[in-house]
């Protein structure tokens, strides 16, 4: 769906008749529904008119070129960046009321990895909300954190200072921090960036476990070749939602072309990915 008209100046509470992409009607049960969201940095909009519904229990890939606003989309959902207009509902309620059901995995570069904490302490941070004000982290919490580190396969590194972890291990630490939150909706910003094949596989398995448990995950992803393999649904993003919906209907050459424009190398990559996907039913 490509809406070329400029977004309405203010949020209109009335629901517009949308030429909804296949399988994306606004439904009250959606894990995440975004209505007409526009986001701006210093009054310069970087995301226009995003309209999106994510059914619960799905793995959604967010795909788009650098600077498309993928991170911005996630941050705006999490209220980290103010929205110019639009509405975001998480399981039918505003994010503020649903914080405990949402886990955020930021881009790895967003923190200083020289910080004097161990992997275990970072994971335990996912429990701070549950621990509450002023109370210290107890042994029980550390056990929960250690269990999460086990799930991502680096329990033996629990007491390492985080700068001594490899990039993939740091990524796993962040995932474990999100896991201990026991959330229903996971928002992950490039968890596959610069990880090796083993870590990538581990993360994919984790995502599938989450889906099997009925959880929902939105994952920013850059590797077009694996999109169809990993995700049930995709959101093609480039300053606006180019298309969103079930992977097999939306992840098409035409839509990718619209998303990536004239970037030739990427297009070749996408074409290859599609060529490999087309024989499948």
């Amino acid at each position: 769906m490509l809406t070329l008209s400029p977004p309405p100046p203010a949020a209109t509470p009335t629901r517009r008749p949308v030429l909804a992409p296949l399988g994306a009607e606004h439904s009250p049960e959606a894990a995440l529904s975004i209505h007409d969201m526009t986001v701006a940095y210093h009054r310069k909009p970087v995301l226009w008119d995003v309209d999106l519904d994510v059914p619960p229990g799905s793995l959604v890939g967010i795909v788009g070129p650098n600077g498309a606003g993928k991170s911005t989309l996630i941050k705006a959902v999490l209220d980290l960046i103010p929205r110019v207009s639009g509405r975001v509902l998480v399981f039918g309620k505003p994010y503020r009321q649903q914080r405990h059901r949402v886990a955020y995995v930021p881009q790895r570069e967003s923190v200083d990895w020289d910080f004097p904490v161990s992997a275990l302490e970072v994971v335990a941070m996912g429990l701070y909300g549950r621990i509450g004000w002023f109370r210290p982290v107890t042994r029980r919490h550390r056990e929960i954190a250690l269990h999460a580190l086990e799930r991502v396969g680096i329990a033996d590194l629990a007491h390492r200072q985080i700068s001594q972890l490899s990039g993939g291990q740091q990524q796993r630490t962040f995932l474990a921090r999100a896991l201990v939150q026991e959330a229903d909706l996971y928002l992950m910003d490039e968890p596959f960036a610069a990880v090796d094949a083993a870590t990538e596989k581990a993360i994919v398995r984790l995502l599938q476990d989450l889906r099997a448990a009925g959880r929902t995950a939105l994952v920013v992803h850059h590797d077009l070749q694996t999109v169809a393999e990993y995700f049930d649904r995709v959101v093609l993003l480039n300053l606006r939602v180019v298309a969103s919906g079930l992977t097999e209907t939306v992840f098409t050459r035409e839509n990718l072309q619209k998303t990536y424009g004239g970037r030739l190398t990427l297009m070749t990559e996408a074409a290859e990915a599609l060529a490999r996907e087309t024989p499948a039913p």
Binding site: L78, S110, V117, M125, F134, Q161
Partner: protein, 365 residues
């Protein structure tokens, strides 16, 4: 001249020590929050407030020497300075360092001008205001020390209470915000602690040098540990030690300003920390990480260098010339001598040549 046994000297040393303790604790957090220089802008911005408070209190018929009045003036103009930093950053495209530089110099310049005016108002009046610039610990009296004690206790208490929250805030403020922690308010609390430390440090250390007490002990402590809690303790200890030694030295030796002495002592501690860990830092990828690599590897071959190298010290004639491959000093091996490095029972660890970092080691010569 004062002696250490004197009641006055003890009051001075005790007061400054408590100040150092609190400054070390708060400094650990602000350093990790990357807000260390905010404290500098804050303290420099206090000077015009001191001068103006003096003028107002003289105009109101007082002597102008009332410490609470002066410190109130200092606090207000310090906060105004901080507000200016935030406003410049928010309303212009200037970066934070630029904003800090502007505020720091403009307020300090204004303060110097105000002090000049105060000086012309009358000779005897203004004497002593300069001591807020460079600090004069000897001027502390028992009541001041009591105030410092209470304020330090408050600062340390709040830090202990909010330890977990501050750790999260310093490490990943964005994540903290998504979890519903009030990031802005926590930042405000942290800045208020800096304000408190700066205000109680004005007399002893002075507003130019107080920033050293907020940065240097914490930076030095970073060399010794990979744990925030330990870091806070060490920074507090180093801050207290520098203040105690510096204040005592300035009390015992004439013409040594206390602020400068305190800064020099803490710099000395910083250099010791740097050199003490330098060997490890030079060779390990993760800088101060060597110590904990060694610890997690389960053994340390040579204690001072803590490179984590698992290596048996050669026997025979090689023995005397041999060095730990990771540290240039032979001292390192002396420290290991007590360990059963040459016994066969130690095969599990030091037998392998290689460091847990995976860096290959050149053969010994």
């Amino acid at each position: 001249m004062l002696r250490l046994q004197d009641y006055n000297t003890r009051v001075v040393v005790l007061g400054t020590t408590l100040l150092g303790l609190a400054a070390g604790v708060v400094g650990s957090f602000t350093l990790l929050r990357k807000r260390a220089l905010m404290g500098d802008a804050l303290s420099h911005a206090m000077l015009p407030g001191i001068g103006l408070a003096f003028m107002i209190s003289v105009a109101a018929g007082g002597t102008g020497k009332s410490l609470p009045v002066l410190l109130t003036g200092a606090t207000l103009s310090g906060l105004l300075g901080l507000g200016t930093v935030l406003a410049v950053r928010h309303f212009t495209r200037l970066k934070e360092d630029t904003a800090l530089g502007i505020v720091l110099s403009v307020y300090f310049g204004a303060g110097v001008a105000v002090l000049g005016v105060v000086q012309r108002m009358g000779e005897g009046h203004s004497a002593g205001l300069e001591s807020f610039i460079y600090g004069k610990a000897a001027s502390l009296v028992a009541a001041d020390t009591a105030v410092i004690a209470v304020a330090s206790a408050l600062v340390i208490g709040v830090s202990a209470l909010l330890f977990k929250e501050f750790r999260l805030l310093c490490f990943d403020a964005g994540y903290a915000a998504t979890q519903g922690w009030p990031v802005v308010r926590l930042d405000l609390v942290m800045m208020s602690l800096v304000v408190v430390v700066t205000v109680i440090g004005l007399q002893a250390v002075g507003l130019v040098l107080i920033i050293a007490l907020l940065i240097i002990p914490a930076a030095a402590a970073r060399f010794w540990t990979e744990r925030l809690r330990t870091l806070t303790w060490i920074a507090a200890g180093m801050g207290a030690a520098s203040c105690a030694i510096g204040a005592a030295a300035s009390a015992l030796l004439p013409n040594l300003p206390s602020g400068a002495m305190i800064v020099l002592v803490s710099t000395g501690l910083f250099l010791l920390s740097l050199l003490g860990v330098a060997n490890a830092a030079r060779f390990s990828a993760g800088n101060a990480g060597a110590r904990s690599i060694a610890r997690s590897a389960g053994n340390m071959c040579c204690a001072p260098c803590t490179s984590g190298v698992k290596r048996r010290r050669p026997a025979g004639p090689e023995r005397r010339r041999s060095r730990c491959p990771r540290c240039p000093s032979r001292r390192s091996w002396l420290a290991v001598r007590g360990r059963p490095a040459s016994s066969a029972g130690n095969l599990t660890a030091p037998r392998r040549t290689g460091c847990s970092s995976g860096v290959p080691i050149k053969p010994w010569r």
